[in-house]
Symmetry: C2
Subunit: 189 residues, 2 copies
């Protein structure tokens, strides 16, 4: 099952953001919305075998939202709809372990370190192995929003395998699209 | 120069739509916004060598907006910003030939047929040649929004070369991302 974890360095951990100002007041929640879109949407279908983790760091306590393709409901491709689902997820009080906030949406108060203890992740790096040349493609990838990984994050991920999606550095959501296209092609062989 | 033309079958040709209801009242203008995003955005850069044509058919008279990467200004990746630029483009009265509505944005009252007379296009088709196997990649692609090509459109494009981006059918914006990744790789060789 492909899993994508996207770090939103300034992304709101409170549901009180405005859907009309997601790039501003919500700390680039718009990037998170686009990553949900590219993780799940096919033409007239959803990718039921994908999980998408949003690691939201724009609050006192980091929160992680998990979106699961097998159980998600009411997901529409536009950013406002994605933002509305994120608000719904953030409305549920978060504890140490994942609790259900809505169908296919779970929340907990934890961040990257906990997630790294649960799954084997790879990271995107322009100097990494080209995914087309990888003998086996890793299932799980960590991506960053518009900001670079912090020093602390770099320390956590420094030993993870590094991959690139091509000669140009892409937005996180576009990177997910290219990764899933490579998954699709390998599954189809 | 890669060119993408996306047909918005119900997309508003009037600037009077609400940025809060782009999937509904505006006739899926949200899809057009995402196609602008994926046509132009790189990480911390724009693709200056791309043109994106939005063929908007949700009005009495079809209108075409041309977005040019070499001159576009004030482009932000979120859907609302894309929608605001589309509104700006549509605010300019449209005649038979392209007139400038804003930096990098031109408008005219015409549709697919006129555009086909100006450039050689290819179309996306799940049974087409896989882009990875194409000896030469066409520069220009026509895509559709959430609806299939109409009978009239199919008649216009029936003899165009057909390509596929892989084993699964993707949204138009995701298709553009995969196409540009293939362009990037070929340019880099």
């Amino acid at each position: 099952m492909p899993r994508f974890a996207i770090i939103g360095h300034k992304a709101s951990t409170s549901p009180d953001f405005s859907l009309n100002d997601m790039p501003g007041g919500a700390g680039r929640i718009d990037i998170m919305c686009r990553c949900i879109n590219t993780s799940f949407f096919l033409s007239h279908d959803l990718r039921h075998d994908v999980e998408c983790f949003l690691i939201l760091k724009g609050g006192e306590q980091t929160k992680t939202l998990r979106f699961s393709g097998d159980t998600i409901r009411s997901l529409n491709p536009d950013e406002r709809s994605g933002g509305a689902l994120i608000k719904k997820g953030l409305s549920k009080p978060a504890g140490e372990e994942f609790v259900k906030a809505a169908d296919g949406i779970h929340i907990r108060s934890a961040g990257l370190e906990k997630l790294l203890g649960e799954y084997s992740f790879a990271v995107l790096d322009e100097n990494g192995t080209d995914i087309r040349n990888a003998e086996m493609l890793p299932a799980n990838f960590i991506l960053s929003d518009h900001m670079n990984f912090t020093e602390e994050e770099n320390e956590l991920i420094k030993d993870l395998p590094k991959y690139s999606v091509g000669p140009r550095v892409l937005h996180a959501d576009h990177t997910i699209t290219v990764l899933l296209n490579e998954f699709d092609r390998r599954q189809n062989k």
